[in-house]
Symmetry: C2
Subunit: 464 residues, 2 copies
Amino acid sequence: MTTAYGTIDQTFLNQLHTLTDKDRVSTSKALCEQHGTDESYHKAQAPDVVVFTLSTKEVSDVVKLCAKHKIPVIPYGTGTSLEGHIAALHGGVCIDLSQMDKIVEARPQDMDVTVEAGVTRKALNEYLRDTGLFFPIDPGADASLGGMASTRASGTNAVRYGTMRENVLALTVVTPNGDIVKTASRAKKSAAGYDLTRLYVGAEGTLGIITEVTLRLYGIPETISAAVCPFPGLEEAVNTVISIIQCGIPVARMELLDDRQMYAVNQYSKLDYEVAPTLFFEFHGSPSSVEEQIEMVKSLAEDFGGKNFQWASQLEDRDRLWNARHNAYYAALALRPGCKGVSSDACVPISRLAEAIMATKQDIEDSFLDGTIVGHVGDGNFHTLFAFMPDDEKELAEAKRLNARIVERAIAMDGTCTGEHGIGHGKMKYLESEFGEAGLEIMRSLKKALDPDNIMNPGKIVAL
Amino acid sequence: MTTAYGTIDQTFLNQLHTLTDKDRVSTSKALCEQHGTDESYHKAQAPDVVVFTLSTKEVSDVVKLCAKHKIPVIPYGTGTSLEGHIAALHGGVCIDLSQMDKIVEARPQDMDVTVEAGVTRKALNEYLRDTGLFFPIDPGADASLGGMASTRASGTNAVRYGTMRENVLALTVVTPNGDIVKTASRAKKSAAGYDLTRLYVGAEGTLGIITEVTLRLYGIPETISAAVCPFPGLEEAVNTVISIIQCGIPVARMELLDDRQMYAVNQYSKLDYEVAPTLFFEFHGSPSSVEEQIEMVKSLAEDFGGKNFQWASQLEDRDRLWNARHNAYYAALALRPGCKGVSSDACVPISRLAEAIMATKQDIEDSFLDGTIVGHVGDGNFHTLFAFMPDDEKELAEAKRLNARIVERAIAMDGTCTGEHGIGHGKMKYLESEFGEAGLEIMRSLKKALDPDNIMNPGKIVAL
């Protein structure tokens, strides 16, 4: 299917101006280019217009206009995605939701909150601070919650608290014809019909635009304790993780950084951790349960040669530790000023994790390109960042080759090509090897049924 | 859309015989009637043929034949659903998956298992016994895991372990044209494309037939302790539950039975519990964590007048306790020999639970019909069983009226018409009030896109 898209001319722009304040519609080249640029290596592609919407109703009005003229619509949160999700491959209108940043309603008694799509994860937790509750999902970037829902994001807490898949209770979505749909009630569970919430979580704006998100919240644990522990080798660190998961110890965070990544983190965050494969831990619970978890983890780590636990129980020490971890991507890029990164995102069953990571390490050693490994290893998910110089096609080709190897290995292990970054247009070629032609055909059917004119973020997830 | 279905004639039956052993195809009246009858009050409706399949391939072959002739296909597990899910409203072929009862592969190292759709929850846990792992989801009936996935079932453990939505890792599905699709890898999380797994979980066989299920497993807790505690009134019991949830105490099970239900349970299971509103608890964890949970729960219960905890720490005492709870539905029916039951299934945000239950209790008191309340109250989910005599239309009308009031109240509280029983054809009329016309239209689009000839369990969830 090739869609003939409409043209964005002055008539269209005039109509757009009637729907919002004039100063919230822009065709400025710089602004459009910025809105077509994410944090990845994929080629930027600017939309023709950017509209800053202030309400679900405005999003609906803009989408209706675009639907009428068959103009592509690309939703934009913070622009921190990594697979070309926001590239305007066919031009069109970028709907920037960052000014939809209101907390609609927090309901501490139900441990849930409804936010506009533009609220970021840090802003939400800032807002919640006095309620004793928090929202755990934390991708590296301070992404918008609408964007996080759209890419089915996760992060360091997912091993204990799940991903956006488990933590979105309901969504408000503007469909491709401009209808406004609430995907679910606030009931904790429901068996009422097709799971519309999970249909849009991870759909990357290709089936509609998420404008509001209702999220589960959690009580801030009575006790939080964090630690860093170096290991003699990568395999020992990974095997410690596997043992911890298989023992069912409910660690809240368990992150792996290889020696090269630790070097980068030290440089970037001005720290002096030992340059060795290292696990970052966090434990949540009552004082006695945290103590119990720590004892068990220490004992398992020691079995694999991990001895020098460095503790951070004070809030500011923990913040420093996790900020260093969250900046790992930027730290690795900073090793080569001016470089860009290709980040892999494989996720495999935990029993295959050591094999997957060791083979990846070997790939890096065999390559002329530098690579760092960092991972949400409790979930079987790890990233390898290959830093390449943007003008060096040989380096980019090598980074892509290595990424492809990692993906193929993950799929062969009954894992996935992406644990949390999503498909965008960067990983579309891997969907068929992961799901087979029949699976891909179902995805195409869903897209065609819900967006027959292919105007919603076209060219992402599935090609029509 | 009205679909003109094909006719099941001798030619069709002959073709069916070529696909399976002859003795696994039956048109016997008694067998067909049994396969159109569930455990609810809804009118039974028999299929024309029942086929007992032995493999995914056979299911695919039968579906392909039915697709060719536009014959309705109704999947059947154990026939224990409650909203007319298996009624052959347009006749057709019932595919009975109960003989697909093999454990395909258990992988203790990954804490997951793949089973054929006909394996029941009890059979799975029996199989797992020596591995130290268990599967927690437990609807009242010993349902098949394919059926449980199809209705997005849950049960008493959901408050701690989630529902089928959270615990299905992947499915094998036969689509309406007979294709065989794997919906996901075994990775614990994935951001790869549309969430096909969650599309089929809860789709009640209307989009395809689930033939294999890959499930998350959990370590059998080191310590398990169960208790029963009576309360002076229903409101005090519910408020205890709300406090426990809001304190974030990770109870594994927390079930409410009202006084009338306790009377029924005593009669049916030959027990001598106090006839009062009662909470059933179970605690999972390490010895110290279980002790900690118990102390906190006891203290909260005492605040609301719940004092006489009766403990069951031995396996056989616990089994007796939970068998009594699982038989609550049958116990309530047994109060009136020959009766049938209309079971409500409302689920509301926890802060509204006391209000919802007290209003329901008032409805029962104001009615000439008897009703019992039982609930997975930690999730905000509760059932009210109205027992009526099958030949008494006035009683049935009253049961339906009461059920409708409960549903409407739940929806007005931003809750759902069904926490775990599903829609079938019994609750279709409530879907629009819950999702609005725009939401329902998306569900219809999904159904039309994936099953354009409307052959898969037609007349359930959405009408075309």
